[in-house]
Amino acid sequence: MTRLAIAINLDRCVGCHTCALSCKMQNNVPEGMLWNRVLTEDCDVMDGALGTYPNVTRTFLPVACQHCQNAACQRVCPTGATYKDDKGRVEIDYDKCIGCRMCMAACPYNARNFNWQTPVRVTGANYGDAEVPVRPKGVAEKCTLCKERTDRGEEPMCVVCCPAHARIFGDLDDPDSEISQTILNRKAWTLLEGQGTRPSVHYFE
């Protein structure tokens, strides 16, 4: 089996949002949406800090779809639009999505966006990868793990563009892969483990 995933080195992450915009570009993500966000952990303002000056800390936390093995979104989807594919990715069949947004309520990571209106793009035209399907009004969308790229054997765009070299892409089912070895050796963790979602996306320091 194959289970594609990303592991993110939070020590290297500088909170630059290059992952967020590279994703937006590649996947033709419309205005008002990001599939991939960089949070300043527990802060109300971007680039804030926890504590009292000068005893402060800050963690940048990039968050997108966690491609859970036990995906809450998939379990609640009434039409089977959200599905787990043969490469371990959580994907959406936009033709089957009826816009009920149960998935959005279920996802503990707030990883999904909804097309409340006909998508608007500031450039007035589609951008990004020609193979990425254009989503209509009334469907949910989210990180696909760059399905079109990874199907071609390429890395996700956020991995290619990360200036800090903080992202590792690979197959969790291959114990010798760089990502599997890193997760093992760097004691990587997943977000909200208590939710039982068993994410494929890992974090380490």
Binding site: D42, M46, A49, Y53, P54, Y127, V160, C161
Partner: protein, 806 residues
């Protein structure tokens, strides 16, 4: 998954909904005045035909130092995707969010779409579209009329780093604004000692050298934002075991990514270095061999005049009007003490002179520079430095010990203390700190600004297009920042980029001066605050548009990079070269401008002094992937590896004779002029830091929709300073002092030092709630500045303000 890792204090589910991320900003943005509309240009191509797709390559911004080569996908004539481009080692294939944002930015609301002519008052932003022929005819006529009346140098041409207007000033015989007062604060003090760095402290090896350092001490630089495309080098060094320590008033991104952050009082970097120097001297940690062999520490100073003693007095030139070449150290040597005989000898006769000692030369009492330093450092104890900087004395002492042990890198910057009135003293003190520890010219040891790997890496020696012999820019007797105050012959200005709002402090003074000019022309792809003060605005192409297959050739990150045409010029924009050619044609000067940019590219390559460059053509580089690596670039680039400095003496020249009238021959502490003024501080208690961010390059990208998702102008205060003013995050505040005011949203941030507030630079009126950041910034030039290498630095951050709810 282990229990310990699963119970880490990660976000709660609720946290993902409330935590700060993009698209959750506090500020709503006032609409930017839209330019003449041209809807047709933005309409998507017909969806009927099968999409045609191809990839072309260009380089991006030079003056973040990134100069990233970008592979750009074009579909149906539109740029739809931007990726890192390159060949070989992927470390040289760089990008950041700004390059990616161009996919939307070049089509964005900020573009100037047609030539514009002013119809309202200057500064009002009211223009009407005119044709290119009208615009060029009228501008050419104004140039002729003004030059006929006041001389050729009555026109000032100022081109910013991204502009490609190199022909304009020489063609017109225009002045070019003199020194620019920016980024030269530290270099003014450091570079004369190093003998290179151009006054911009660009004397560092490349940042990959940090991997070989034991300590990387960053002071006044935010590398993890301002050198974003190369930020991996910071972590490569950290993972290799370098101790990353960052000194910054605020908990910057770089501070938060370092092993340790040392908070410091703004404007006191010089005091930190002076304290460290004293501790190194007092504890015998100095590298005497380095000082004796590679610095001017052993040189003899006249104990009474404070001047270095040379073989003979400088011979006055016979014709005083003639430019006198200073005598070389060989023609007129300095004196040192021979350690064997104890006698004074020429420095050229003794490779390893005595560091310390007193003697007599020609009946004058003489003492070594080192002895002068040791004596002068006595007031600058570690305890004194602790008092000034707010850093505990024991930390200054231990930092000095760690730095002295080395190999250590001292990474300085342009966005921090560089914008203070005493920046040259900090640069000079850094030079002394480096010299007494020998932390230069060996693996893992260096000093200077490491930001921008296209500055610090291997630079291929590109040639140039040969200009006609009678083309030369005029001398600029008065620098632009002094034009409001000093008589000068500038009657009109051509600005390629935003000079009015971006390059000068105290904007109300700037605007009053700009309004005295007979005419102003701005040439820019984007509409800026400065453009509002223009009489004509000419729309230039972005880096992605060209009218020929190849636009230009540049030196990138240890590679030659080329600009291929990605798409046709958008709207009515024209290339910088086309605009210059058209103006030249109207002024009867067309013969000096290349007929084609491809010819120019190949001339730049073929006239190189390096054979491997001169054998290249732009077509050959294109076939290679639009980059051509510098040979052997995998080897980390060092500076002065033999510790022979490109100074007149070949040594680190630490003693500045020319600064004797200011008592700064060796660095002496002097506080900042404004922020250390206690009486002014009682009225305006907050120091305003205006610094750089990963979301902008100076004023660029403020109009980028995608980058506006991440940042809109915001003044950040410590929560205590917010509370004492009754402010809450999201409030609109008035930031003011005696110079003026502006209004922006405010946010509380624990990263900000109490008593200091931070805003990212170049917040202009279209993007703030009201007014320009530069309305309040300090433009006071210190007297000493005019005797420094690059003239005075504009002390943008030596600025006090008060903030209240608007």
């Amino acid at each position: 998954m282990t229990e310990s890792s699963s119970t880490r204090g990660r976000l709660t589910r609720r946290g993902f909904l409330k935590t700060a991320g993009a698209a959750a900003g506090v500020a709503g943005l006032a609409g930017v005045a839209s330019m003449a509309t041209a809807d047709g240009w933005l309409a998507p191509a017909s969806a009927e035909a099968a999409p045609e797709e191809h990839v072309a390559r260009t380089y991006h911004q030079s003056h973040c130092g990134g100069m990233c080569s970008l592979a750009c996908t074009v579909r149906d004539g539109r740029m739809v995707k931007v990726q890192p481009n390159g060949v070989g080692n992927p470390d040289f294939q760089t990008i950041c969010l700004k390059g990616i944002s161009e996919v939307a930015h070049i089509y964005g609301k900020g573009r100037v779409q047609t030539p514009l002519k002013r119809v309202g008052e200057r500064g009002s932003g009211q223009f009407e579209p005119i044709s290119w022929d009208e615009a060029l005819d009228e501008v050419a006529e104004l140039i002729k009329t003004t030059q006929d009346a006041y001389g050729r140098d009555s026109i000032m041409v100022l081109a910013t780093a991204e502009a490609d207007f190199g022909f304009l000033a020489p063609m017109l015989g225009a002045q070019t604004g003199g020194f620019d007062g920016i980024d030269v604060g530290t270099g003014n003090g450091l570079d004369p000692a190093m003998g290179f760095g151009a006054g911009y402290a660009m004397c560092a090896p490349e940042a990959r050298d940090w991997q070989r350092s034991k300590l990387v001490l960053t002071v006044g630089s935010n590398y993890c934002e301002s050198s974003l495309p190369n930020v991996f080098t910071f972590f490569d060094a950290k993972e290799a075991g370098a101790h990353m320590v960052t000194v910054d008033p605020h908990y910057s991104t770089t501070a938060s990514k370092s092993d340790e952050w040392i908070p410091i009082e703004p404007g006191t970097d010089a005091a930190l270095f002076l304290g460290m120097i004293s501790h190194i001297i007092d504890n015998d940690l100095a590298d005497e061999d380095f000082m004796a062999q590679h610095s001017t520490m052993p040189f003899l100073v006249d104990a009474e005049t404070g001047l270095l003693i040379r073989d003979h007095e400088e011979i006055a030139p016979v014709d005083e009007a003639a430019e006198a070449e200073p005598e070389t150290p060989e023609q007129n040597p300095y004196f040192v003490i021979d350690p064997v005989t104890g006698n004074p000898v020429h420095h050229t006769q003794c490779d390893t002179p005595a560091i310390s000692g007193t003697t007599q030369v020609r009946g004058r009492n003489a003492v070594t520079v080192w002895d002068v330093l040791v004596e002068g450092q006595k007031p600058y104890t570690v305890d004194w430095a602790a008092e000034i900087t707010g850093i505990p004395a024991e930390r200054i002492a231990s930092l000095a010990e760690e730095y002295a042990e080395g190999p250590s890198s001292l990474a300085l910057g342009w966005g921090g203390n560089d914008k203070m009135t005493n920046a040259d003293i900090a640069g000079h003190a850094a030079a002394v700190l480096v010299a007494i520890t020998g932390n230069v010219g060996k693996p893992g040891a260096g000093v200077g600004v490491y930001v921008g790997q296209s500055y610090n890496s291997y630079a291929p020696a590109l040639g140039a297009w040969a200009l006609p012999e009678d083309w030369a820019a005029a001398a600029s007797e008065v620098s632009i920042y002094d034009m409001p105050y000093r008589e000068n012959n500038c009657h009109a200005a051509i600005f390629c980029g935003d000079i009015v709002a971006q390059h000068l402090a105290n904007m109300n003074v700037t605007c009053d001066w700009a309004d005295t000019l007979d005419f102003i022309v701005t040439m820019d792809p984007y509409f800026t605050e400065g453009a509002k003060w223009s009489d004509y605005i000419l729309p230039c192409t972005s880096r992605f548009e060209y009218d020929e297959p190849f636009g230009n050739v540049k030196a990138g990150y240890s590679q030659i990079v080329i600009q291929e045409k990605i798409i046709d010029p958008l709207f009515e924009a024209r290339t910088d070269l086309w605009i210059q050619r058209e103006l030249a044609s109207r002024l009867g000067l067309k013969a000096g401008i290349p007929e084609s940019s491809v010819d120019r590219c190949n001339a730049i390559l073929s006239t190189s002094t390096e054979p491997w460059v001169s054998e290249l053509t732009v077509e050959k580089i294109s076939e290679n992937g639009a980059v051509w690596p510098v040979p052997d670039r995998e080897v980390i680039r060092e500076v002065v590896p033999d510790q022979v400095f490109p100074t007149p003496t070949g040594r680190m020249e630490l003693y500045y004779d020319g600064m004797v009238p200011f008592d700064q021959q060796l660095p002496q502490w002097e506080p900042c002029t404004e922020i250390a003024d206690e009486s002014l501080r009682a009225q305006f208690p907050l120091q305003l830091t205006n610094t750089r961010t990963r979301f902008r390059i100076h004023n660029q990208f403020y109009d980028s929709d995608w980058l506006q998702l991440m940042y809109e102008p915001l003044v950040m205060l410590n929560p205590a300073d917010m509370a004492s003013r009754g402010l809450e995050t999201g409030d609109v505040v008035r930031v003011f002092n005696d110079r003026g005011e502006f209004k922006v949203h405010a946010a509380a941030n624990n990263a900000i030092r109490p008593g200091s507030v931070r805003i990212y630079e170049a917040a202009t009126a279209d993007y703030t709630v009201a007014g320009n950041l530069q309305n309040v910034t300090n433009n006071t030039m210190i007297e000493r500045g005019y005797d420094l290498m690059c003239g005075p630095v504009i002390p943008f951050s030596d600025t006090l303000v008060e903030i209240e709810k608007a």
